[in-house]
C-alpha cells in the first residue's frame, strides 16, 4: 500500500519543490513582486485557513463545557 503511494508522493514532492511562487488572484495586483503584497497574501491565507478551524474547535469546546455543566435527567 505504502509502496503504491511512492510515485504519487514523488510527483507531489517534485511539484512542490520546483514550482514557482504564484499569486493566483488576477484582479488584485496578481503576480506582483512587491514584498508587502506577498506578505499580505501569506497573512490572509493563514488567517482564512486558521479562522474556521479555531471557530469549529472553539464551538466543540463550548459544547463540551455546556454538556458537562448540564445536569443529567
Amino acid at each position: 500500500m505504502i509502496r503504491a503511494l511512492f510515485p504519487v508522493l514523488a510527483i507531489l514532492a517534485v511539484w512542490v519543490l520546483l514550482a514557482d511562487g504564484a499569486l493566483a488572484c488576477a484582479v488584485c495586483s496578481g503576480g506582483d513582486d512587491d514584498v508587502k503584497v506577498k506578505d499580505s497574501y501569506v497573512a490572509a491565507t493563514i488567517f482564512m485557513s486558521l479562522l474556521p478551524l479555531c471557530v469549529v474547535g472553539g464551538g466543540f469546546l463550548f459544547l463540551r463545557h455546556r454538556y458537562r455543566a448540564t445536569p443529567d435527567e
Binding site: 512587491d34 490572509a44 488567517f47 479562522l51 474556521p52 471557530v55 464551538g59 448540564t70
Partner: protein
C-alpha cells in the same frame, strides 16, 4: 395466539438541551457571516498593500477616525448594557426593560451616526465607484451596518415580547448572540478599515 408486550419508558424530567435550538441556529448563521467578514477583510488588506499611490489614494478623503472612535465607544457600551440586561433578566424579568432599551438606543445611535458620517463622506467625493478605497469602505462597513440593523430589529422584537411578558430565555439569548457578534466584529473592522 401470541400477545406482544410493548414497554414504554416515560421520561418525566428530560435532560435540558445543551444549547437552545434558537441559539445554536444563530451561532451557525453567524459562523457563515464571520467567514464573509474575514474574506472581505483579507481582500481589503491585499488591495491596500498593493496600492501604489498610498492609502487612501490621492484625491480621496481620509476616513473620520476620531469621530468613529466615539461611535465605537457607543457600540461597545451598548454591548456591555446588553450583558447587564441578560444578568438582570435571569434574576428579575421586570427590571430588564430599561437596560435593554438603553442598549437598543445606543445601537440605534451607532447606525444613525454612521449614516451621518456616510453623507459627509459622499459629499467629500468618496463613493462606491470613486476608488477601491471607497468600494471596500462602503461594502465592508455597509454590510456591518446591515447586520447592525437586522440585530436591532431582533432586539426590538425581544423588547416587544418582554413588554408583553412572553419573552423566553432562549429567544432573548439568540438576539443577544447576534448583537454581540455585531459589537465584537466592529473593533476589527475599525482597526483594519479606518486605521
Amino acid at each position: 395466539m401470541t400477545s406482544r408486550t410493548t414497554s414504554l419508558r416515560v421520561v418525566t424530567n428530560p435532560r435540558p438541551p445543551v444549547v437552545p435550538s434558537a441559539v445554536l441556529g444563530m451561532l451557525l448563521f453567524l459562523f457563515t457571516e464571520l467567514m464573509l467578514f474575514a474574506g472581505l477583510i483579507s481582500a481589503h488588506s491585499i488591495a491596500r498593500a498593493g496600492a501604489l499611490l498610498g492609502w487612501p489614494p490621492p484625491g480621496q478623503p481620509r476616513l473620520p477616525l476620531e469621530e468613529t472612535a466615539l461611535n465605537t465607544a457607543a457600540l461597545l457600551l451598548s454591548g456591555a448594557l446588553l450583558i447587564v440586561a441578560q444578568r438582570v433578566f435571569a434574576r428579575d424579568k421586570r427590571r430588564t426593560k430599561p437596560w435593554l432599551t438603553a442598549s437598543i438606543a445606543l445601537g440605534a445611535f451607532f447606525v444613525i451616526f454612521q449614516g451621518v458620517e456616510w453623507v459627509g463622506l459622499i459629499r467629500e467625493g468618496l463613493t462606491l465607484t470613486s476608488s477601491t478605497h471607497g468600494g471596500f469602505f462602503y461594502l465592508i462597513i455597509g454590510i456591518h451596518a446591515l447586520h447592525a440593523v437586522a440585530a436591532l430589529i431582533v432586539l426590538g422584537m425581544n423588547w416587544l415580547r418582554l413588554h408583553r411578558g412572553i419573552l423566553a430565555q432562549s429567544t432573548f439569548a439568540a438576539g443577544q448572540v447576534f448583537w454581540y457578534f455585531v459589537v465584537g466584529v466592529w473593533p476589527i473592522l475599525y482597526w483594519r478599515v479606518y486605521g
